[in-house]
Each structure stands twice: as structure tokens, then as C-alpha cells.
């Protein structure tokens, strides 16, 4: 057991914990928006399209996350534009952007001369190699998000819930929706560093549905999802270390396990209450 805790003295591990906690907080807020609006599929489109940016950045020798951010933001804005002005079916458009991004990523990576060492780390994340600078980026983004939700909670909520009614009240709905598209894209791209493209959406959904077992209040889902995200991801990092398995997969496993255990406890508790009554 002392072995399990001695790991905390290593800097890479401290960084990994910090990244997990900050990613959980970011994903909690943005994920609550995504789950409430039932637009997980849009999140998937943004995530996978950003892989095209990663490939292009590789090819051009740039920072891959810059490429991912650019592709992610453009995709998110395009999806929102289609949903507002749509002559194309939104879900089809998302599917196209989703697979096009992946295809571009694969092509660019293939064309990049030499070995591309980090490719796997983008697909599956590499939380154990997160550096101090990246922690600061996550920290600043998390703080900006909190500020954003603190200031604009009401219009964000109202434009998500009933955009047409919001428009009748003079809220600039389109502006808020585009803003949230950019926020979603940046949050997803920043979280890819921690858990990777393939698993990132689970950080934006599983803690939220776990939180929603306890409350159906948007305002309360956010901190509760952050809590479940932090518990699950820290448990995942510890478990990965102890069992020597990939960290991102372990995080998702623990998040899911946590959800299932709580759900089963609730089912049993409800059954007991019903039997008594």
C-alpha cells in the first residue's frame, strides 16, 4: 500500500492528477450543456474532425493541439451554422465532418515523413506526460469557463432549452449558440490531451449522467459532475498505476463502474422502499 502512495511524490504523477482534476471540471461544465441539449453526437463530430487538424499540424511541423483546436472550432461553428440555416440534414452533415476529419488526419499522418511518435497518444491520450505549461492552459480555461457560466448562466441555459422563446425575449440566441460552439470545441480539444480522441466524450457524458441520478437541476449537475469526474479519473489513474494498464481506459472504466454501482444501489434502495410501503 505504501507503494501506491509513494507515487504521489513524482512530479509527472502530480501533473497527471492536476490534469485529471482540471479536465474533469472543464468537462463537467461543458458536458452538462452537451447532455442537456442532447447533442452528444455533435460532440463526437467535433472530436473526430479535430483529428484532421492534428494530422495537418504534424505534416506541417506545428503544435498538434493548435491544429486540433482550429479544426474543432471550425467544425463546431459549421455544425451550428447548418443547424441554424440548414438546408442539409444536420446529422448527415455531422457524420460527413466526423469521417472527413478522421480521413484527413490519417492521410496527413501517412504523408508525414518519418516516424510519428505521438499518434497513439492522441487517440488514447497521454496524461502521464502532461507538462506544467499544459496544466496552466487547462487551469486558465477552467477559470474562464467558470466566469462565463457565472456571468451568462441564464442566457446560456435559456438558449439551450428553448431558443425560439429566448429569441422572442430579445436574447441574441445565435450569438450565444456560436459562442457555446467555440467553448465546446476548445473544451473537447483540451481534454483530448488527457483521455484521447477515442475516449474523450465519456468525460463529457458519464459524470453528467451519474450526477443526473441525483439532481435534474442544470446548476447542480455541473459541480456534481465535476465531483464524480474527479473521483473516477483519480481512481482511474491510481488503478492504472497499480494494475499497469493504460490510464485513459482505466479512467473511463472507473467512471462507468461508478455510474453502474450508484445506479444499482438506487434500484435496490427504491425496491426496498416500495416493498416497505
Amino acid at each position: 500500500m505504501s507503494d501506491a502512495f509513494s507515487i504521489f511524490q513524482y512530479q509527472f504523477f502530480q501533473h497527471a492528477l492536476a490534469a485529471a482534476i482540471l479536465t474533469s471540471v472543464i468537462a463537467a461544465m461543458v458536458g452538462t450543456y452537451i447532455v442537456s441539449r442532447k447533442i452528444v453526437f455533435i460532440g463526437g463530430g467535433i472530436t473526430h474532425a479535430s483529428f484532421g487538424g492534428i494530422g495537418l499540424a504534424f505534416y506541417m511541423g506545428l503544435n498538434p493541439f493548435l491544429g486540433a483546436a482550429v479544426f474543432g472550432v471550425i467544425t463546431a461553428l459549421a455544425i451550428e451554422w447548418i443547424s441554424q440555416n440548414g438546408r442539409v440534414r444536420e446529422d448527415s452533415a455531422i457524420a460527413i465532418l466526423w469521417s472527413l476529419g478522421m480521413a484527413l488526419g490519417i492521410i496527413f499522418v501517412f504523408m508525414t515523413p518519418g516516424y510519428t511518435p505521438n499518434l497513439m497518444s492522441f487517440l488514447f491520450g497521454s496524461i502521464l506526460t502532461v507538462g506544467r505549461a499544459e496544466i496552466y492552459v487547462l487551469l486558465v480555461f477552467a477559470m474562464l469557463l467558470m466566469l462565463l457560466f457565472a456571468l451568462f448562466y441564464r442566457p446560456i441555459l435559456f438558449t439551450a432549452f428553448d431558443p425560439e422563446f429566448a429569441r422572442t425575449k430579445g436574447i441574441p440566441v445565435s450569438r450565444y449558440r456560436y459562442m457555446m460552439s467555440v467553448v465546446m470545441a476548445l473544451a473537447i480539444v483540451l481534454s483530448i490531451r488527457t483521455v484521447g480522441i477515442i475516449l474523450v466524450l465519456s468525460m463529457f457524458t458519464i459524470p453528467q449522467i451519474t450526477a443526473m441520478l441525483f439532481t435534474r437541476n442544470f446548476y447542480r449537475i455541473m459541480p456534481l459532475a465535476a465531483m464524480w469526474g474527479i473521483i473516477g479519473s483519480v481512481a482511474g489513474i491510481m488503478g492504472a498505476y497499480l494494475l499497469d494498464i493504460p490510464t485513459s481506459a482505466a479512467i473511463i472504466f472507473f467512471l462507468t463502474l461508478q455510474f453502474l454501482v450508484i445506479k444499482i444501489i438506487m434500484i435496490i434502495r427504491n425496491a426496498l422502499i416500495r416493498n416497505k410501503g
Binding site: 452538462t32 442537456s36 441539449r37 442532447k38 440548414g86 438546408r87 456571468l151 451568462f152 441564464r154 442566457p155 441555459l157 435559456f158 439551450a160 432549452f161 428553448d162 425560439e164 422563446f165 429566448a166 429569441r167 422572442t168 425575449k169 430579445g170 443526473m212 439532481t215 435534474r216 437541476n217 442544470f218 449537475i221
Partner: protein
């Protein structure tokens, strides 16, 4: 002669350049109570969205002779996502305009008004509950509060009697009768039988609008109503019955 709130002239609108309503004319006065009827897909919802400024105007005019009136809107049930995690209080407060757009929160006066409204509607117990826990009637009540909280001059209700029990429906109609003393009301309904004692005139909407300036339930009005019902039941029936009443 009183100033009308809204004058619509030869208006056309639709979706993605596909015209759904054409040559629509309607004048709404401050004390009007207009029942909007018509077949499913006839364009009733599109019409109220045009009035609310949610629909592009392809041609014609929508005028507000005495300035844009404050409008309260109760959308049709299918537009409301009951599983969305929003509380009753938040829902109702979304009907209020935040005075400060930079930091859009409610001021003390608005908060007090919100509490009053919730009390009046008898929704205190549910104020902090998610809307998913409300019954159909309670949800409509909350949506009506949302529409009313900003003291509208024009109240627009799109089929408020769906998913509600008869008792709530009666309660709703009593409220509307009282509210009509202070504001104009447009009530979209598929059931003219129950709303006819309430309304003052009828607009039948099916691709275009036929206004029936009657403040009583007459045989004629009921006949007018049968046209749209027939359309649903037996396929396209021309507006023959309607046209004969279109005498203004």
C-alpha cells in the same frame, strides 16, 4: 378608433424558400381574442411564429402601428423538452428580460415578481423542481406564467390544451377570459368546440388565412370549423365552405 397592435398585409412565409403561408392578412387589436384553427400542418404555428418575429417574411408586411408590443408566447407542447434539466423557477424567469445585458441577472424587483407569479399559479412546491416532475397541466401553467411574467400586450398560445386534463383546461379558460381584459390573445386550438364561448373571432389557417369576425358561436362558425376537420379526416377538401364566409 383604437390603434391596432399588429397589421399583417399580404404576408408570405415558409421554410427554406418553401412557401407554407401565402397572402395572409390579419389585424389584431388590443382587446382581441382570436381563435386560430385549421388542419394539422395548415400553418397555424408558422403564423404565430411570423407574428413573434421567428419566421422570415418572404413578401408582404407585418406592421406594429404603435411600436412593437410586448408578446408572451406559450409554444406548442412538442417544442418543449420536458427532460431538460431546468427548474420551474428558472423556466418562468426566462420570460423576464434581464435589464442588464452585460451581466444578465434579475434585479430585486423582478425576483419579487417571480415569487408572486409562482405563488399565484400555486406552484410554490415545485419552484425548485425540474420541469420533468410536473404533470401536463402544471407544466402548461408554468409555461403560461413564463409567457405572462413580462406583462405582455399580446398573449400567444399554441395549443395549450394538449396533454392536460379537463379540469385544468377549464381553469385555463377562466384565466384567459380574465386576462383578455388586459391584453389581446391569440389562441391556437384544434378544438373549437371548447374555445368558442371564449373567443371573439376566428382565423382559419390553411396555407392562407380566412378571418371570421364573429364574437358568437353560430352554426356558421361551427361549419367553418368542420372544414379543417374534414381535411384531416378525408384528405384535401377545398376551402369552399370557408370562402363563403370570407366577406370582409
Amino acid at each position: 378608433m383604437k390603434q391596432p397592435l399588429i397589421v399583417i398585409e399580404a404576408a408570405a412565409t415558409g421554410y427554406n424558400s418553401e412557401v407554407v403561408l401565402r397572402d395572409v392578412g390579419l389585424t389584431v387589436y388590443p382587446d382581441d381574442f382570436i381563435g386560430i384553427i385549421g388542419p394539422n400542418g395548415g400553418g397555424k404555428t408558422t403564423l404565430v411564429k411570423l407574428i413573434l418575429g421567428l419566421q422570415p417574411l418572404f413578401s408582404g408586411k407585418v406592421l406594429f402601428p404603435s411600436g412593437k408590443p410586448r408578446m408572451g408566447y406559450l409554444p406548442q407542447a412538442s417544442q418543449v423538452d420536458r427532460s431538460f434539466p431546468i427548474t420551474v423557477k428558472e423556466l418562468i424567469s426566462s420570460g423576464m428580460k434581464s435589464r442588464n445585458t452585460l451581466i444578465p441577472y434579475l434585479n430585486a424587483g423582478q425576483k419579487q415578481r417571480l415569487e408572486e407569479m409562482i405563488r399565484e399559479a400555486g406552484l410554490q412546491r415545485y419552484a425548485n423542481k425540474p420541469i420533468g416532475e410536473l404533470s401536463g397541466g402544471q407544466l402548461q401553467k408554468a409555461l403560461l406564467c413564463r409567457a405572462l411574467i413580462d406583462d405582455p400586450q399580446l398573449l400567444i398560445l399554441d395549443e395549450p390544451n394538449t396533454h392536460v386534463d379537463k379540469q385544468f383546461e377549464q381553469e385555463l379558460y377562466r384565466w384567459l377570459k380574465r386576462l383578455n381584459q388586459q391584453m389581446a390573445i391569440l389562441l391556437v386550438s384544434h378544438d373549437i368546440g371548447t374555445i368558442s364561448p371564449l373567443i371573439k373571432s376566428i382565423a382559419c389557417v390553411n396555407e392562407t388565412l380566412h378571418y371570421h369576425p364573429s364574437n358568437q358561436i353560430s352554426e356558421e362558425v361551427l361549419k367553418v370549423y368542420h372544414c379543417p376537420v374534414d381535411v384531416i379526416a378525408h384528405g384535401p377538401v377545398p376551402h369552399r365552405v370557408l370562402k363563403s364566409h370570407d366577406h370582409e
